[in-house]
């Protein structure tokens, strides 16, 4: 007669199944929370960057007031540079400079020395092959750089067969690093260069002065600065959005002819 102590096979199997079900459901929940944590972390970095820059720029615009403003745009080998020069009422000057370069030229319409892959896609041959985004602000003799947050990057190159950018292997990166040291490259060598594609980009730039074209409303102009960011997971929701009237009339009661701004209620 067999011993009654112990467990049956079916009981063990059922226990395994139950534990598997619980582990799977818990794992998916924990994994979801982990993804959420990473997303919130990225969001937090962007928001802190936006808020810091907004406060620095708005502090000057509000405290001193903008007297006049000009906007200048130029392109250097695929690098787009927008410069906003503000003459403040205090006599000082402030310069805001935004640099934007995409290694993927689909989004980057102005590009010197283009190489066409096919009718729909093209990429730029340029000295520096990587994405570059930078915001600089300050007085002309002291411009401070505010690099955008590093939220990840992909090192990749354009694949002719797949018609898209694919990540480079270690060997490809090694070859690419060697090729970068050369002064000039052939077409085939150019295609072997691995480029840095940043996850967080400056995607939308809308910088203008309202009614700039008409002389009628010269005293009612408003400077509008919109620097939009894009991240594959967060989308294009986050941006630096600064609006300030130009030559706004100061009330006689204001202290020293300036405004004061406090983050109270």
């Amino acid at each position: 007669m067999l011993n009654n102590k112990g467990v049956t096979t079916i009981e063990v199997l059922i226990c395994f199944v139950l534990v598997t079900i619980i582990s799977t459901s818990l794992f998916s929940t924990v994994s979801m929370f982990n993804d959420k944590r990473i997303e919130e972390n990225n969001k937090s970095k962007i928001i802190i960057y936006n808020n810091t820059l907004t406060r620095i720029i708005q502090k000057d615009f509000i405290t001193y007031g903008i007297k006049t403003a000009t906007i200048n745009e130029k392109n250097e080998n695929g690098l787009k540079i927008i410069t906003v020069t503000c003459n403040l009422k205090s006599g000082e000057q402030r310069i805001l400079r935004i640099k934007q370069k995409f290694t993927r030229s689909n989004i980057h319409p102005e590009c010197n020395n283009e190489i066409y892959i096919d009718d729909s896609k093209r990429y730029c041959e340029q000295d520096n092959y990587d994405d570059e985004f930078m915001i600089e602000y300050g007085s002309p003799d002291k411009i401070i750089k505010y690099p955008i947050p590093e939220l990840g990057e992909v090192i990749g190159k354009y694949d002719d067969n797949l018609k898209t950018f694919v990540p480079c292997t270690k060997n490809q990166i090694k070859v690419s690093d060697e090729l970068r040291k050369k002064d000039s490259l052939t077409d085939s060598e150019n295609k072997q260069i691995c480029r840095v594609l940043k996850d967080l980009e400056i995607n939308n730039l809308i910088i203008n002065i309202s009614n700039e074209e008409t002389s009628d409303d010269i005293e009612s102009r408003v400077l509008n600065i919109y620097i939009g960011f894009y991240h594959p997971e967060l989308g294009n929701r986050y941006a630096i959005n600064i609006v300030s009237p130009i030559d706004y009339p100061v009330m006689p009661s204001s202290k020293n002819g300036t405004f004061n701004f406090e983050f109270n209620n």
Binding site: N4, K5, G6, V7, T8, E11, V12, I14, C15, L18, V19, I22, L26, T29, K36, N50, N51, T54, R55, Q58, I62, N203, N204, I206, S210, N211, D217, E219, S220, R221, V222, N224, Y226, G228, N236, R237, A239, N241, I242, V243, S244, P245, Y248, P249, M251, F259, F261, F263, N264, N265
Partner: protein, 298 residues
Amino acid sequence: MKKINNKGFVLAETLIVSVFILAIFTMIYTYYYPLIGSYEGRETYDDVDGKYVAYWIKQLIESDSYDFSGNTFEKDNKKTMDNFGYIRFECRDVNENDNRRKICKNLVNALEISKCDSEGNNCDIFITHFQIGGTQAKKIKPDFKSTVNGKFLKYDKSSLIDNEVYLKKYQEYTLDSGKLCAYATNDNEVQQCKNKYLKSCFKGKGYKNLADNLQADGSISLTNEILSQRNTIDIIEYCKNQSESKIFPSYLADYINFLPNYTKTNYNSGANYRVIVVTQHKKALNNYYSFSTMEVNK
């Protein structure tokens, strides 16, 4: 551990533990998930950009060129404040001889204030008393939060209205008799009020001829000149829908109810009023609202 019996013990133990763990995680899940939702909803409440938007509107309000108790374009601001606890800020109430009127129009459009027309009117900018709710505010009568939640003063100001009435946009206007449209009693008065709103809406959208051809019964005689203009039918439809829409839709009511009552003793700035601003972000294919408030010294 005591053995219940020799057979099936491992299964019973596993079942008990698994039920226990599942119950705990369900409780945690149901507690934290709504928290995440409300946190994400409040991301747009009083953010840094919103505070600067409110700041510039505050500057316009505090300037000498803004007529606080304006009585322009068939609206009576004083009556609206006395009966509902708020005034809608509009650029037409800024002195037209002052450059700030043009700045106001450009500013509200650049700041993307919600519902503004091209002239800077009909914007979602509300000026209220400093205290917007609570037992202290009820002494001022009426408190703004009550209006937002469907309760405002009766016509004779004796008490709050009996049923919940969520104010519609045409009800902000004043009849020729001086009565606020929210107290309109018959169809004729209601139609007069709607016509006032429609005229304002058509003019704000740049369709003055629609406003001129609006009949007493609310119909519009569509002349060839009107029909030849682009999007005429869409504008008529839009303005009619807007006239019937709530002044305080749910997303705005949520924000206002979220705000504290602002008892005066906690703040020493001496401000008597507040401004509440709603911004609709549309750049870069976005479409979301943000809200902000700031105290106003006037």
